[in-house]
């Protein structure tokens, strides 16, 4: 009985094994966003009749490295990696390059993006665009309302996260440049760690401190929603405050429909997954690819939100 169970367990594990002709995929984890991306990979692979083997690295750098080594040992046609740690991609790039197997990084920009070699590429969205699109739209709405100066509060994501740092820098860059047209005065800038409850508490603390912002610019939708809930609880009219987020989640779109959220930005996870498969297949055939392959961020406002209700 024990042997039978062991055999069953081994064959279950073997089901995930890669063979020559496959494309091996190693995903960092399976959160909401990366699940959409993974489905994008599965769909476009199925459409192109390209067999794929997908592994999840559970946010473990070493596990991901072993998965890549296993793919190389199985002589797959190409490898797609959604890196756990963008600063630890060097060893994986080297392993793939040495074996002559194409390697495509997706969604998270690897630190060696300029040195991926002829058989390496990065497919993703440019984080500079997300915060810039978000802030410019806030500027546009403020200008339309006839303002020349506006007070803003900034909600920052996890401080150790590149997207949080980049999107916050984008806000300051747009303000410093000539693109905004309205002078944004940053009343305060604090982290709420991507979390809606922490964001709700932060906003309530700001309200208690007497801050009256014209706009709240958040690094993601979750925190923007937390801010909206706090402002509503304090009896604020959401028409008086512009709230902006990033991600275009289903929940965020519901808040936008209700008139509470004004701006969000859509990152096309499925298109990134599809782009990664396409790029991997091209490289496997020996075609040249210009890296990085950018999948643009898209601005979502009440005017065009209906297009996005089924995308995420």
């Amino acid at each position: 009985m024990k042997k039978f169970l062991l055999g069953a367990a081994i064959s279950a594990l073997m089901a995930g094994s890669a063979f020559a002709g496959d494309v091996g995929v190693s995903m960092a984890n399976s959160d909401t966003f990366l699940t959409v991306l993974r489905k994008g990979i599965e769909k476009s692979a199925a459409d192109a009749s390209q067999p794929v083997v997908i592994e999840i690295a559970d946010d473990d750098v070493n596990k991901q490295l072993s998965q890549v080594q296993n793919f190389i040992a199985a002589k797959v046609d190409a490898i797609i990696v959604n890196p756990v740690d963008t600063s630890a991609t060097g060893p994986m790039t080297k392993l793939a390059n040495d074996a002559g197997i194409p390697i495509v990084y997706v969604n998270r920009e690897p630190i060696d993006v300029g040195a991926l070699g002829a058989k390496g590429a990065f497919v993703g969205s440019n984080e500079v665009d997300s915060g810039t699109l978000e802030t410019k739209e806030v500027c546009r709405i403020l200008k339309e309302a006839g303002k020349t100066e506006a007070g803003i509060l900034i909600m920052v994501g996890d401080l150790a996260n590149q997207a949080a740092v980049m999107r916050t820098k984008d806000i300051h860059d747009v303000n410093a440049g000539s693109e905004c047209g309205v002078k944004l005065n940053v009343i305060d800038e604090q982290t709420a760690g991507w979390d809606p409850v922490k964001a709700q508490d932060l906003m309530t603390n700001w309200i208690a401190a007497g801050h009256k912002p014209d706009a709240v610019i958040s690094n993601n939708d979750n925190m923007a929603i937390g801010a909206i809930n706090a402002m509503k609880a304090a009896g604020w009219d959401m028409k008086d405050v512009i709230v902006a987020g990033v991600d275009a989640t289903q929940e965020a779109l519901a808040y936008m429909k209700a008139g509470d959220l004004d701006v969000t930005v859509f990152q096309n996870a499925a298109a990134q997954g599809g782009g990664a498969v396409e790029t991997a297949m091209k490289l496997a055939k020996g075609e040249a690819v210009t890296s990085p392959v950018w999948v643009p961020f898209e601005l979502v406002t009440p005017a065009n939100m209906d297009q996005y209700t089924t995308k995420n």
Partner: protein, 347 residues
């Protein structure tokens, strides 16, 4: 100073002549608040404390931590630890939210179970917590593995379950009758949020249970001296299951309140809450070596965490510096408290 001297439950429960030990930590709380008040007038030109909204948020933002900390305090008194609280919050929030969705959601987790009475969502969340806590307690009592390991296992598995439950998707669009439990009410012009009321109610119940009932006496006895407790006929295993089950139940309650406040359930909810709860208990005078601790102290410890968060935002302290300073203040608060208690003992 022998350990038996502090750890004797008679010292903790019986002494009415001396001031209760949490008076000194209350002094630390008042001291921190006064520092913020003074800095407020100097740097912001405004009062820190004379603001109803701020007094309300100081407790509101830590009420979920406080609910967990009440359970964790009891676990630590038995010389144990519960690392699973944060993950159980996440799992309970997911399960409760999934039963509280409106039919307006085209992609509800259970399309047939929408627009239900919130009682089912709450019971499910509490049930998940109770179950997780009972498993923790039974593992510790039956297999004799250290509580650190048993609850570490639960921490990892419960977080995994929370993610698996909807395959990582957040559970959104919850019914108003459910989110009502996260809302605020104006009582005589003072904003009183429901999570705060629940937190204080839970604290009062377990303060009474620990101070005046047999349950409390057993809890202190097991933590102070397990051999003596066994000899005096206490069923240690059975009692530990109860203590961990209560801690789990309170984590489940915290999960329900979190989902109600955020009006959504997310698998990442409650990450590292167990550490804040342990910090609150320890700041409040609970000893990690067991046998010592009071709910009143834990409540004060919890409020200290809230005052720090609100105070930093009030003074616009940069986000990077907040965490650095917070860690130092937590350790300093405990050092000051212990120093004063030792001085009083010698006197």
């Amino acid at each position: 100073m022998s350990t038996n001297e502090i750890a004797s439950p008679a010292n903790v429960i019986g002494s009415k002549k001396r001031l209760p030990p949490e008076v000194s930590i209350l002094g630390v709380l008042i001291g921190i608040a006064i520092v913020f008040e003074i800095l407020g007038w100097i740097f912001v030109g405004d009062s820190f404390l004379a603001n109803k909204q701020r007094l309300s948020i100081i407790i509101l933002q830590v009420s979920v931590i406080g609910i967990i900390a009440v359970g964790v305090t009891q676990v630590i008194i038995t010389a144990g630890v519960d690392l699973s609280s944060g993950s159980v919050v996440g799992l309970a929030a997911m399960v409760a939210a999934s039963l509280a969705q409106t039919s307006a959601n085209p992609r509800a987790v259970y399309p047939a179970l929408t627009d239900m009475s919130p009682i089912w969502a709450i019971l499910a969340g509490l049930g998940v917590g109770l179950l997780a806590g009972t498993v923790n307690g039974s593992l510790i009592a039956r297999t004799k593995i250290p509580p650190f390991i048993a609850t570490l296992g639960m921490m990892v598995s419960a977080r995994g379950l929370a993610k698996w439950y909807t395959l990582g998707q957040p559970v959104a669009l919850l019914d108003d009758s459910f989110t009502w439990f996260g809302k605020s009410f104006n009582i005589l012009g003072f904003p009183l949020p429901l999570p705060v009321i629940v937190f204080l109610l839970v604290a009062v119940i377990f303060h009474i249970a620990l101070t005046y009932t047999r349950y409390g006496k057993f809890t202190y006895a097991i933590g102070a001296n397990p051999q003596a407790a066994r000899v005096s006929g206490i069923n240690i295993g059975g009692h530990l299951v109860k203590v961990y089950a209560i801690a789990g139940l309170l984590s489940g309650l915290a999960g329900v309140m979190t989902a109600a406040r955020a009006a959504s359930g997310q698998p990442g909810m409650g990450v590292a809450y167990e550490l804040d709860a342990i910090a609150a208990a320890v700041i409040g005078g609970t000893s990690l070596s067991g046998g010592v601790g009071r709910i009143t102290g834990t409540v004060i410890g919890t409020i200290i965490l809230g005052v720090l968060t609100s105070g930093f935002t009030f003074l616009k302290v940069g986000a990077y510096y907040q965490e650095i300073i917070k860690g130092i203040i937590i350790v300093a608060a405990v050092i000051i408290d212990q120093h004063r208690q030792n001085k009083r003992k010698k006197a």
